[in-house]
């Protein structure tokens, strides 16, 4: 069915299986093709869908709808306690109500501002630090070692210390987000600077640009896609830390505080899950914004399909 399309020189070299069972020749060809070290070849129809953006969106939407349907059926079917697994429809309904609930929006805003504030501070610190360390020979190797040593310390483990030092919940949250976001941004900036093409740097040097000019006009834009990747990772880590800090340190508001409140009085699982969905939506939105920014700033990466 789909085999004539790619029966170029391939089938001639196929094993005997392909010849004796012509009905399955298409599939066999596909398999031996990938065995021969070629790129993965999905079937023609799947290719048709995944090639187009709308096709991919369609497949994605189908996956989400299917999962929601499954959750709904499991919850309504009585297989699980409704307390443990609230049906998808009621969670979505709660989530929609929350979108117009000023109290919840206030909590959401507190989380978002602490998260973005900490993230922005981390970027403002880590990118210049990375540029400085990365431009000085040998220092970048030394600093990479330090970063690799400090990075595995889970920021959540520092919550008690942060509470002790910063006391005020907003500052605790911001500083923890900043600490957590610092490492991925710094690390990716350093790696990005290592990747800068020496010929590109020499080109600008030969036109009489000094070290600062080269850093600003070549190293930074060249490392840019790496930096954006670092910020993306930092954003997702930062969100985890922000909500964790609120859950532990409390304060007068925030997504974590809201979720804690839904525990009281027997608990409202539908609200908990809906709140968690909003936290997830924040992460998705941040990622989408950063991917979009990366594509706009560094179109070659996007054209090469390597999206930053």
């Amino acid at each position: 069915m789909n085999q004539p399309a790619r029966s170029g020189p391939g089938p001639g070299r196929q094993g005997p299986g392909a010849r004796t069972r012509p009905a399955r020749a298409g599939r066999t060809a596909g398999r031996t093709g990938s065995l021969a070290g070629r790129a993965r070849r999905p079937t023609a129809r799947a290719r048709g869908l995944t090639r187009h953006a709308w096709g991919r969106s369609l497949l994605g939407a189908a996956g989400i709808a299917g999962t929601l349907l499954l959750v709904e059926l499991l919850a309504r079917g009585g297989l699980f306690d409704e307390q443990a697994l609230p049906p998808a429809t009621s969670v979505l309904a709660r989530a929609a109500e929350m979108a117009v609930d000023d109290g919840f929006l206030g909590d959401l805003w507190i989380t978002v501002s602490a998260w973005l504030g900490g993230l922005a501070l981390a970027v403002a610190l880590a990118v210049p630090a990375g540029l400085l360390l990365g431009s000085l020979p040998r220092l970048d190797t030394a600093s990479l070692a330090v970063v690799e040593l400090l990075r595995p310390v889970p920021s959540v483990a520092l919550i008690p210390l942060a509470i002790l030092v910063f006391v005020e919940p907003g500052r605790v949250e911001r500083s923890l987000v900043c600490y957590a976001a610092l490492w991925p941004v710094l690390l990716h900036t350093l790696y990005g600077l290592r990747d800068v093409d020496p010929v590109a740097k020499e080109t600008l040097r030969s036109f009489g640009f000094g070290p600062l000019g080269v850093v600003w006009r070549v190293s930074l834009p060249s490392a840019g896609p790496h930096v954006v990747t670092g910020v993306r990772i930092a954003a997702s880590v930062g969100l985890v830390v922000a909500v964790s800090a609120e859950l532990r340190a409390g304060g007068d508001g925030g997504l974590g505080v809201y979720l804690l409140a839904t525990q009281s009085g027997g608990g409202r699982p539908d609200l908990m899950v809906a709140g968690a969905c909003w936290a997830g939506a924040l992460g998705v939105a941040a990622n989408a914004v950063l991917v979009g920014a990366g594509r706009r700033l560094f179109p070659r990466r996007a054209a090469a399909g390597a999206g930053p």
């Binding site: 030969s206 009489g208 060249s222 840019g224 070659r300």
Partner: protein
């Protein structure tokens, strides 16, 4: 314009690239440098560009000793894919070095478009380098050097990574901009920018060009002089003036007895150990 005396360079791994190179190039000359592979042609060029400090010897450009990158210099590298900046458009790639000339944004852009027109690429100004073919990318790199109007232009196997046809076109382009840039892209037809041109060299016929190549025919075809280096460590083996008539063309010039004699001579010199 360029004086090299007793230039030697030994790399950290002990490889002696060049040894005791002596070379003098007059203002406005186009000198090609050929030699067997690994004879230190590129090392020589990098030392002149100030990108590499030689272990011994003296280089001076326009009477000033080279210590760091000399003023008024442009380099065209062989590897255009690495030398062009993928995050900038073609026009911005060409315009970027002009910041060193202290030109305003509009002037930089105008001059970049001028240079792109010279290499026949003004239509692609808004594209990114990676959207162009290899030959076009190298033309962008050449346009960038032309727009800068350097007093000294260094070219390190500039046509080494393009196909034969494009190579011939680029050689002719080099001859054309040398012969005609003085009145083509040069002074004055863009009124207002005229008086600022003093900020840079006037380009075209006045530019001194050092062209490293491994192609013997090319070294003769484009140059006023061919300098042959010996095998590693590189020394000047011979220095041959090219006395071919002025309007050169790929078919006619290459068929001239003088051309054939010269390329034979250069070829022998390169092969001799």
């Amino acid at each position: 314009m360029l004086d090299i005396t007793g230039l030697s360079h030994r790399y950290e791994d002990g490889h002696q690239a060049v040894e005791g190179v002596e070379l003098h190039v007059d203002r406005g000359e186009l000198v090609s440098i050929v030699g067997p592979s690994g004879c230190g042609k590129s090392t020589l060029l990098r030392c002149v560009a100030g990108l590499q400090r030689p272990s011994a010897g003296r280089i001076s450009v326009a009477g000033r000793a080279v210590d760091g990158v000399p003023d008024d210099l442009a380099v065209v590298f062989q590897d255009y894919t690495r030398s062009l900046f993928p995050w900038l458009t073609v026009r911005d790639n060409v315009a970027l070095p002009l910041r060193r000339r202290g030109l305003a944004r509009a002037e930089r852009r105008a001059r970049a478009l001028d240079a792109l027109a010279q290499v026949g690429l003004d239509a692609t100004a808004g594209k990114h380098p990676w959207q162009l073919s290899g030959g076009m990318q190298q033309r962008v790199a050449i346009a960038r050097a032309l727009a800068y109007r350097p007093a000294l232009l260094l070219m390190d196997e500039p046509f080494g990574s393009v196909d034969a046809q494009t190579r011939e076109d680029l050689e002719d382009l080099l001859l054309a901009v040398r012969g005609g840039a003085g009145h083509q892209g040069g002074a004055g037809h863009r009124g207002g920018a005229g008086h600022r041109r003093g900020a840079g060299h006037q380009g075209g016929a006045g530019t001194t060009i050092l062209l490293v190549t491994h192609d013997i025919d090319e070294s003769v075809y484009v140059a006023d002089r061919v300098v042959v280096l010996t095998g590693a460590p590189g020394r000047v083996h011979s220095d041959l003036p090219v006395d071919l008539p002025a309007p050169r063309d790929q078919i006619g010039t290459r068929a001239l007895p003088a051309f054939v004699r010269l390329r034979t001579e250069v070829g022998r010199a390169v092969r001799r150990p």
